[in-house]
């Protein structure tokens, strides 16, 4: 218990509470207009998606183009559950999230199996195909509303629930990454042959990463469905997967804070630029390119490291000294 009460953890806790307090205050003082309030839930959901995909792309080093697929199976499973159950929300929603997460995790496991044999581009194609297959199955499955969509989902999601789930997702994935399990996952990314030769069970950790990433994508999907009240297969297309991937890449591969910030920017940007109608996509693209360039800038990266880690700062200072 004492070890959990470090300065760093307390600071993080304070930050988590402060951000929520700020949101709560802004909401009740009428600072948000309707559009900006409507963005809060999607921001949280996108952060969950970006952080979970980051585990695969940034830490395991496998390019996955099917994250929207995991999101959709979770969403449909969870929303079917609440539609057909008649329980109070406080029971129904957590169960729906659990169900959605587990169903998505099962798919994560199944997609993880080819990932054991395939590398790089080939795996990317498999994940892409997975996303598209799921979408066309949902499109044709009358049971879940087909292409017309699944209607009548209770609108349980609100920014408080999403905020809590987002914080849990970030903490779980950050803790995972900074444990022996996370080190094993990163070692696979950096050199799979050496990883195996050091006694890391590569098969186990690849599957673990896929299962965990899919699990949280599934929960994000459940929250998504309970926010809109309707699910359409067409939302979970290739573009959605790419959008999540862009968040991870923009945030700087293997950086969770980066993924969070990128998810916020990429969710808000299109809305913020709505007024500019014609120039919207142009500016959007320019911002994306600027973020990418910034991420490849050594000086910005060392600044970012200094911001997030004291130990890295020491190293950065030393490296600059050596450079002189």
């Amino acid at each position: 218990m004492k070890k959990l009460l470090t300065k760093k953890n307390l600071a993080a806790l304070l930050l988590i509470i402060a951000i929520y307090a700020l949101l709560f205050a802004c909401d009740h003082l009428g600072v948000f207009n309707r559009q900006s309030k409507a963005l809060l839930v999607p921001i949280g959901i996108n952060i969950m998606l970006a952080v979970s995909l980051s585990l695969l792309v940034g830490f395991l080093g496998e390019l996955s183009l099917g994250h929207a697929g995991f999101m959709s199976v979770g969403a449909y499973a969870g929303c079917m559950f609440t539609i057909h159950m008649d329980l109070p929300m406080a029971v129904e929603l957590p169960l729906a999230m659990l169900l959605g997460g587990v169903v998505a995790a099962v798919f994560g496991f199944l997609i993880g199996i080819p990932a054991l044999r395939l590398k790089g581009d080939y795996l990317a194609i498999v994940t892409l195909a997975f996303g598209e297959i799921i979408r066309s199955v949902l499109n044709n499955l009358g049971l879940v509303g087909g292409s017309g969509g699944l209607n009548g989902i209770p609108k349980y999601s609100n920014y408080t629930i999403v905020y809590v789930m987002m914080v849990i997702t970030i903490i779980v994935i950050a803790n995972l990454v900074h444990s022996r399990h996370g080190r094993a996952i990163c070692s696979i990314r950096d050199n799979v042959i050496a990883s195996e030769a050091m006694g890391i069970p590569v098969v186990y950790y690849k599957l673990m990463a896929f299962v965990a990433a899919a699990f949280f994508a599934g929960i994000a999907g459940v929250l998504y469905g309970h926010n809109l009240g309707i699910l359409k297969p067409s939302t979970f297309d290739f573009n959605k997967s790419i959008e999540i991937l862009v968040m991870v890449v923009m945030g700087g591969m293997g950086s969770l804070p980066g993924a969070v910030i990128a998810a916020i920017i990429i969710t808000v940007l299109p809305e913020a630029l709505r007024g500019l109608s014609d120039y919207r996509m142009l500016i959007y693209a320019v911002v994306l390119i600027a973020m990418m360039l910034l991420n490849n800038n050594a000086r910005f990266n060392s600044f970012k490291q200094r911001l997030f880690s004291k130990r890295a700062a020491r190293q950065g200072a030393q490296l600059t000294k050596e450079g002189e």
Binding site: R180, R183, A194, E196, L319
Partner: protein, 252 residues
């Protein structure tokens, strides 16, 4: 019984017999050298002993247990660790984390302990940090523990690879040209470190080296490979005076 017993090991790539009829017995605690000109098949022997390649013929055993046909992972768990001729560090991880990956199987805390930061996590991570410090100190790398492995200078990367292999707690350590790319000073220092490692960790070491002088300096016994065949085997002083070996290295 020798720690490592290799019997008639051989492998072909298509028509090429890269290694043929390789035999060696390495006693516990030995510092054994494997030398030979470029393309002789030295690295291929390491790849077979670590399950990266499956031998076409022959067998090998560690501590009396036959490991022929086992996977890289199984062999690692049985206690053979190695370094690579073309360095294979975990480049985007810190120096300390590279060693902690090597130590992975020394602690057992589960997924839940890691995610929920249960007491086991703190206890085991503390232990890992201490072990990593010990190992990094041996190679003079502790000061650079927070550097990314890929940012280390070449010579230190080679040392880190040895530290990481040692971290797995092997019975047998295979070093593939540990001194490649180092200057004579660094090489001398590294050889001392290897001696030190053998003595303090009670390790058995099989090492590949190009430089015959260097090998004869530290190895008690050597095997010379040439075109996949064993040319000579024995004490360095005898082997290096063998006319066949001189011809292989210097030409007729």
């Amino acid at each position: 019984m020798a720690l490592l017993e290799v019997k008639n090991l051989g492998i072909s790539f298509g028509g090429l017999r890269a290694v043929d009829g390789f035999n060696v017995n390495i006693e516990k605690g030995a510092l054994y050298g494997l030398i030979g000109p470029n393309g002789a098949g030295k690295t291929t022997v390491f790849n077979m002993l670590t399950g990266v390649y499956q031998p076409t013929v022959g067998s090998f055993s560690l501590d009396g247990e036959n490991l022929t046909g086992k996977s890289t992972l199984e062999i690692a768990h049985k206690g053979i660790a190695r370094t690579f001729q073309n360095i294979r560090l975990f480049g985007k991880m810190t120096v300390q984390d590279n060693v902690k990956v090597g130590l992975h199987n020394h602690v057992k805390y589960g997924l839940a302990s890691g995610i929920f930061r249960l007491p086991g996590y703190f206890r085991d991570e503390k232990y890992l940090d201490e072990r990593a410090k010990e190992l990094l100190d041996v190679f003079g790398l502790y000061g650079e523990r927070d550097y990314l492995a890929s940012n280390l200078p070449y010579g230190k990367q080679r040392k880190l690879e040895i530290a990481r292999a040692l971290a797995t707690g092997p019975k047998l350590l295979l070093l593939d040209e540990p001194a490649a790319g180092m200057n004579p000073n660094e090489t001398g220092e590294l050889m001392e470190t290897i001696h030190f490692v053998r003595d303090t960790f009670d390790m058995t070491i099989l090492l590949i080296e190009h430089d015959m002088k260097l090998v004869s300096g530290i190895c008690e016994e050597i095997t010379v490979l040439n075109f996949g065949q064993m040319l000579a085997q024995g004490k360095p002083s005898e082997v290096l005076n063998d006319p066949k070996v001189i011809v292989a290295y210097l030409g007729e």
